[in-house]
Amino acid sequence: MAGARNDTPPIRATKFLRWFCKHEYYEDIQGDLEEEFHYLAADSTIARAKKWYRWQIIKLFKPSMMKKVKGQQELETQNTMFKNHLKIGVRNLWKYKSGTIINTLGLALGLAAFFLIALFVKDELSYDKHHEFANQIHRVTVENFSMDGELSRHWAFASAGHAERLKEDYSAISHAVRFFLWAFPDIDYQEKKLPSQQVVFADDDVFDVFSFPFIQGNKEEAFREVFSLVLTESTAVRIFGEDWEKQNIIGETVKLTAEGNEAPFKVSGVIEDMPQQQHFQFEYLAPMRFLEGFFDEDAMNNVGGNYNWLTYVRLEPGTDVQAFEFQSKEFFNKYMGEIRGRDASEFYGFKFQPLLSIHLNSNLEGEIQPNGSLQQVYIFSIVGLLLLLVACVNYMNLATSHFSRRMKEVGVRKVIGAGQSSLLAQFLTESTLITVLSIPLAIGCVYMGLPYINSFMNKELIFSLTSNFELILSVCGLAIGVGLISGLYPALFLSRVKLLKALKGESTIKSSRWNFRNWLVTFQYVVTISLIFALLVIDGQMKFIQSSDPGYTRSQVLDLGLSRKVSNLDRLKRELLEHPNIERGSYSSRIPTGRLADNWGSQFYKADSLVPTDFRMPCIMVDEDFIPTYDITLIAGKNFEEGMDMQKDSTGYYIINRSAAAAMGYPDPVEIIGEKLAYGPYNGKNLGMGRILGVVEDFHFESLHSEIVPMVMLKTNDNLRELSLKIKAEDIQTTLEFIEGVWTQHDAENPARYQFVDELFDQQYQQEERLATMIKVFAVIAIFIGCLGLIGMVGFIIETKTKEIGIRKALGASITNILYIISNQFFILIGLAFLLALPVSYWLMNDWLLGFEYRMTISIVLILMPLFLTCLFTMITLGMQTMKAAMSNPVDSLKDE
């Protein structure tokens, strides 16, 4: 043949075929192709044949024709083995049902508790993060210092004049916004009337500082006109109904009425509802320019005092806040000059609080809504992690016991030829199975538990697969990780066992020997003991608070908050006292359970020579009924009388507490009566020299968290903001109705705000109360998981010791003997756990108690209590199972071979 070279099939195509095609197919397929190639070449042209040949090979390039990729074979074997492991695993879970249930339940509970705590913690940590410039936004807070340079007050609010001046003077501040909460105006729209709505006035910068996404309108147009009103989604629904989006509400006019003023506002935009995770919640925003017309210029330019303006600034990126704070020291010197011959900056200062730290770290005076607590977040995180660990440890423990039942199986597998890795894979598959089972159970528990947590912690946590996808994914990963880790120990251990030993089916875990498992059990006990201890201490402290005498009577006292509308205080009180069930009424500036925040400095004269008072002595303003209404004990001198008024009379009258007398150098309070004291200046007026009229016994005006400080009571008609009413216990409902009736005659606009003082008292400790309940729930879960673990473990130990028990009984051992043999080991572990848990938990709880100035002492009984309780729980759990084994007939156990 002439063109021999030319009429062979294309070499490269053939090579390609050989490269990808299965070896066992290649020969005949290539033969077929070549044969047909030659027929085709003879029938038509070689080029066409070549083209056909190539095309056929390209078409053959598909998976069913391809060689197996390297390792694919192995993968397929493993897949088969995995299926086998899965099957065996499921069978084993089914065979040991009780063990499976215990294990799944324990793990699910631990996971659920962890989930819930993680949700809570995540929520607490996510506050204010949604704002685009969150890292640049700072809140301007004002510090006041006393004459001796001590920080006396720290306000969450600033003065009206601060924002504008700060922005003008410092280039680092790019935007500044003030919020002002105006006296809750009514909103009218057509026939609809919405009483006391929370309209907040804000500077135009507001939308550049905070990110409030607009649903309708935009941030440029929102405050263009003075009479603009920006609604949130839910207020839009409130005014215009569910279908507000279909109505054209932009430009609609609503009427705001407050304190006799009336103004038509135009709806200029609708923003999304402010998320729960924000440290303030506003419903309507209106431009500050409107409000500026209502205040005189002096008020708007005020730079010291009148701290009612919630002020935020947006700093240029990269501003060093601390350096900036220092720089702004001159601010007060510039605008206020000198006060009493000293620089104003010695009395006033700014703090720039990062927005992101406000929720958990702030707690200043006048916070717009209660803040969270970082300490609480820490405590919960630790507890959550501990619970998860306990559940894991419990799981490992049970898995180990469970696997060691199967020595014979391991032996047989080894004989057949299972390698260590295959055995390892089997145990790991099985241990992961349980964790996989427990995840849906845990999620179910979370769904059930969430409403309780929400109502209890006052949160709106949401748990859904979409919004918590990451969390769920990570927890699933974690659960599987737990399965792997906890499977690893028994798996490694079992797969290494010598063949002969394994075939004999010897118990490899000698219960008498110290091993890793004992450490696991000890750890579990450590956590349980610590939690019980924490619970007892918190509970004890709460009881201590409840039972301790604060020095005043809080039951049957009603606190009525006054409004600016009430003008005739005498008449109000007189009218209220007409009711037979209202025994006494007293006006004061603050009431017990509040804070002692007004401190103006004082001068004390001992026999006409000035004695410097170098301690803080805050004051409250009261009338003559304050001491009897609260049953405060007068230990020397007299109470105020009607008609005395410090500001009008030439001589003042003061009542101080025992601590104040002692601080002034009079351990015997009787001797201080009649000495001279000058308190003030107050509102620019010096109250002048006065005499000490009486001394009262120390009482806890503030909560038990803080120490009783020297304080002074003044009698004036100024600043009386609260009315305390002592009422009779019977028929409280009608008394309250009567009070409301009288109130409306004096202030028709604002509803009466009242609260019982004992409730206020309890509210002071709300956070501790919550903590106590949470710890209680989690301690119970921990104990429960621990008991589950014990049941499983003891069951296993008894199983491995059936023969031993039988022989012992046959030789004459009593039931108590046998109980002792099985349980003594656990008590050793408890003892060890107690020794480990005590120092840490004692230190932690002592630290917590130090947060209270008045606290209970941790007694020996309290320390030993967790030990006793743990022993008790162990005994009950052990007892039930062990009794059965100990009482069984030895014949049954010995004949079993």
């Binding site: 033969g31 044969e35 056929q56």
Partner: protein, 111 residues
């Protein structure tokens, strides 16, 4: 039913293998189908069907002789197994049954 799963193309290939008895290999099967059925068959489609039916047990195969025109490569000769025959019969029977159960009126297109 599942046991005899046979696609339309597979059925044709299987039948052709039976027809070509003892000389059924890639080239001859393809030629046979292309001539008798007047349809194009690619080597890839044919080979896939053959290998699949072999793994299902409808076909057996052995190596035949090697010829020069094949570049010294051996043929793979296919043979229908008894199981393959059952599958074919099953397919045929079901069709006949279906044919028989068609009511005469169904194909009476009103002339």
């Amino acid at each position: 039913m599942k046991k005899y799963q046979l696609g339309e193309f597979e059925e044709i290939v299987l039948l052709t293998v039976a027809v070509l008895f003892d000389d059924a290999y890639g080239v001859s099967i393809r030629k046979e189908i292309e001539q008798k059925m007047n349809r194009k068959v690619s080597v890839s489609a044919l080979q896939t069907a053959l290998r699949r039916m072999e793994s299902k047990g409808f076909l057996n195969s052995r190596f035949g002789e090697a010829t020069a025109v094949r570049g010294g490569k051996r043929k793979r000769l296919f043979l229908v197994t008894p199981f393959g025959k059952e599958a074919l019969e099953h397919a045929k029977d079901t069709r006949i049954k279906l044919w028989e159960s068609i009511p005469s009126i169904a194909f009476d297109f009103g002339k």
